[in-house]
């Protein structure tokens, strides 16, 4: 159940459900710092098609807090920047119970 630790200068991106199926992985490490606004393109470059199939219908958390990706994109340079050691997660539509 524990999260993999990112190497220095990297953050961890966790995949769940359809994101895990698409990437065939449970996590990746990406170089930090990275503005949140650039994250989706960075993931798409690695996994073409993931934006349309997964990301656009998923939520995103940074260190267990939900972030509004669109809002951060709008802020431009003032938007959230992901730091080394951060834990980012793709949250597809949930289905408990």
């Amino acid at each position: 159940m524990s999260t993999p630790k990112a190497p220095a200068g990297h953050f961890t991106l966790l995949y769940f459900a359809s994101a895990t199926s698409f990437t065939r992985k449970q996590h990746d490490f990406f170089a930090a710092p990275l503005p949140l606004a650039k994250l989706y393109n960075a993931i798409e470059e690695k996994y073409p098609g993931i934006k349309a199939k997964v990301l656009e219908s998923s939520a995103l958390t940074v260190n267990l807090d939900y972030v509004d990706v669109e809002e951060e994109v709008q802020k431009g340079d003032g938007g959230l920047v992901i730091q080394a050691g951060d834990e980012v997660a793709i949250i597809p539509p949930v289905s408990s119970g």
């Binding site: 524990s2 359809s18 065939r24 449970q26 958390t61 597809p92 289905s95 408990s96 119970g97």
Partner: protein, 172 residues
């Protein structure tokens, strides 16, 4: 080298308990957690794996979770529901991993002095969990049918996946 802290699998507060577990769910245990001389009413909801989804036979369901966040969300829901209905106690447990047909995947137990609050709270707790808790259900149809990641939100068809069982387990 510092030791890794052991992963949190439950959160316990006064008269409030939420848990994720790979073990079979224990009804007697969750009932015992909420029963009290102060509570005249105890309501238990048990969600179990059905043998079909939209007429397609289901072999089993498999649940995975973003554990630290799912627990946090369950704790928030439990606190909210307990407060709103002035419950005596609340406990919620979700199973992870493969959940065979007929077995419980989620248990919610609430207790209160009188029954109306208990009925309402139990229902509200379940609906909130299904909407918010960071747990995902993989429906395994078997053979060529493959498997589908379900989405509880209305109108979502689910995401079809090949070689589904490779994706379950390990990460909870």
């Amino acid at each position: 080298m510092a030791a890794e802290p052991s992963p949190v699998t439950c959160i316990e507060e006064e008269n409030l308990f939420v848990q994720l577990t790979h073990d079979r769910l224990d009804i007697a245990s969750i009932m015992a957690r909420v029963k009290s001389p102060k509570a005249g009413a105890v309501v238990l909801f048990a969600g179990t794996t059905r043998d079909s989804f939209a007429d397609k036979p289901v072999v089993h369901l498999a649940y995975s979770a973003y554990a630290p966040l799912a627990l946090r969300t369950m704790q928030s829901i439990a606190r909210e529901v307990k407060g709103q209905h002035s419950l005596t106690a609340i406990a919620m447990v979700h199973r992870l991993g493969v959940c065979p047909v007929g077995e419980e995947s989620i248990l919610i137990a609430v207790s209160s002095p009188h029954r109306l609050a208990a009925w309402r709270a139990g229902e509200q707790a379940l609906e909130e969990c299904k909407e918010r808790v960071e747990v995902w259900k993989l429906e395994e149809f078997g053979g060529d049918e493959g498997a589908v990641w379900r989405a509880n939100r209305d109108g979502q068809a689910g995401a079809r996946v090949e070689n589904a069982m490779d994706d379950v387990g390990g990460q909870t």
